[in-house]
């Protein structure tokens, strides 16, 4: 019996060691992982996924910890995937989110996994997605993904989570500027954490104002069904739009957590009652299929092509004898003749 079969059985039987091992195989992109996922896939689709994103220092890890504690009081099994960045220079990473989630230690209904972005060939989003699938198949009721502090990944989270929680904090005015470009559009629930700090009213007001601007923009192009592009991710919107709540929490004291959990539930209910959930799933899976196809085709093409051919082309492009688009054209038509 191949190792992956064995692992899959153990994961489905609730073996945490096997689960951790399989997640590593998925992260490493091994063939065993692909085999395992092809078996596990039919067991997925029952976990509810929550993405928690926001600027560094807003208290995402603390908030996740409190949310998990709350879900545990309802006897839900919860897995957390905490993503931190890899160094672009050494490939190493310091994964420190677990440090802040120590209150969850020793609870057999909780599984926490730290993940480095390993930023190569779109590997992050795909590995995250597959790791979430493994946790879903392992029977967790909720899978929560905490993203890295900033950057494009924050928009990526909309591809993988059912509900996206955006965390902000008072006194980070510049961050509001930073996030308004796209991240507000993917937020389903907004949380102003550290609400005991001065300036909380201003932050809440600013966020609400920006949301209203966003809504007006949406309504203009709004006739029955509208597709909105959000950095390449299409969201389908129908008549009764979700009103993004702006909540206040003090995660360190557990305040506002119940309201947050309720807002997530409301959003889940909204998604399923309007049929948006199914639509989102389709869009998401279609995106994934296309991304995988793209990765695979590029990989295959590069495998088939002698490396000196690629170097020749690069030399020609660098010497301004050939432009990159024409180089691609010649590569693609050459490969068709083979």
């Amino acid at each position: 019996m191949p190792e992956s079969d064995n692992l899959v059985e153990q994961v489905l039987a609730g073996n945490r060691r096997a689960l951790a091992r399989l997640i590593s195989l998925v992260e490493d992109g091994t063939p065993e992982a692909n085999e395992a996922i092809s078996v596990l896939y039919s067991h997925t689709g029952s976990a509810y996924t929550i993405g928690v994103t926001g600027a560094p220092g807003t208290g995402k890890s603390c908030l996740v910890t409190e949310l998990v504690k709350h879900l545990r009081t309802q006897d839900k099994r919860v897995a957390v995937v905490a993503v931190d960045p890899s160094s672009p220079f050494t490939g190493g990473a310091l994964l420190g989110d677990r440090f802040r989630m120590r209150d969850l230690a020793g609870d057999p209904g909780v599984f926490i996994r730290s993940m480095a972005t390993r930023g190569q060939l779109g590997g992050v989003a795909r590995a995250t997605f597959d790791v979430m699938r493994v946790l879903d198949a392992a029977g967790f009721d909720y899978v929560i993904v905490e993203t890295v502090g900033a950057g494009q990944n924050e928009v990526e989270i909309a591809r993988v989570a059912d509900t996206v929680v955006l965390v902000d904090a008072p006194g980070m005015g510049d961050d509001i500027q930073a996030i308004k470009a796209g991240i507000l559009e993917i937020a389903d629930v907004i949380v102003v954490n550290k609400a005991d700090r001065p300036g909380v009213k201003n932050t809440v007001r600013a966020l609400k104002a920006m949301l209203e601007l966003g809504h007006r923009k949406r309504e203009i192009s709004h006739h029955g069904q509208v597709m909105i592009q959000t950095d390449g991710f299409e969201k389908t919107l129908i008549d009764d739009m979700w009103q993004v709540p702006v909540l206040q929490t003090i995660a360190t004291q557990g305040e506002g957590i119940e309201e947050l959990a309720q807002a997530v539930l409301n959003h889940a209910e909204y998604l399923s009652s309007t049929g948006i959930q199914a639509e989102r799933d389709r869009v998401r899976l279609q995106n994934e299929l296309i991304n995988r196809l793209r990765d695979r085709l590029v990989y295959d093409l590069l495998q088939r092509m002698p490396s000196q051919d690629l170097e020749k082309l690069v030399t020609a492009i660098a010497a301004r004898e050939l432009d990159p688009a024409s180089a691609v054209q010649s590569l693609v038509s050459n490969s068709k003749h083979e």
């Binding site: 945490r16 060691r17 590593s24 490493d28 890899s86 160094s87 190493g92 440090f99 120590r102 590997g123």
Partner: protein, 132 residues
């Protein structure tokens, strides 16, 4: 298309509050290209082994400056065994008297690094003992 990464858990069991060494090591290992999970101060042996299991690490690095290493380390080794983590390597750093080093190695610690240990040696050691 992926790449195997060495994962290391850096933990401080026991009650002393001196985590500077652990942080320096965590950073050094990060710069050496490892994925380092840092769990911070005052971890119980149970917390450390459970974290190592969930994170599927190749190496556990303990930093102990309290003098409690002969109490904490055997407990961790025992828990690693019962959790099926026999293949995970165990390193101990901190203030460890000479006469205890061989005792720790006897119970299954792979290496002990005291004050003044060269960080390159630690990186080299990990690269050698972890079968990728």
């Amino acid at each position: 298309m992926g790449e195997r990464k060495i994962r290391v858990l850096i933990a401080k069991p026991g009650l002393d509050g001196h985590d500077r060494g652990a942080k320096v090591i965590a950073r050094t290992l990060r710069d050496a290209g490892f994925e380092v999970i840092y769990t911070g101060l005052r971890q119980t042996p149970e917390m450390i082994v459970e974290a190592a299991l969930q994170e599927d690490v190749d190496v556990i690095g303990l930093s102990i400056l309290s003098g409690a290493h002969m109490a904490l380390t055997p407990r961790i080794v025992e828990l690693m065994r019962t959790s099926g983590l026999e293949d995970v390597k165990l390193l101990v750093g901190g203030i460890i008297p000479e006469e205890d080093i061989s005792k720790l190695k006897e119970i299954g610690v792979n290496a002990v690094f005291g004050p003044g240990a060269n960080s390159e040696d630690i990186v080299k050691f990990i690269n050698e003992i972890v079968v990728v």
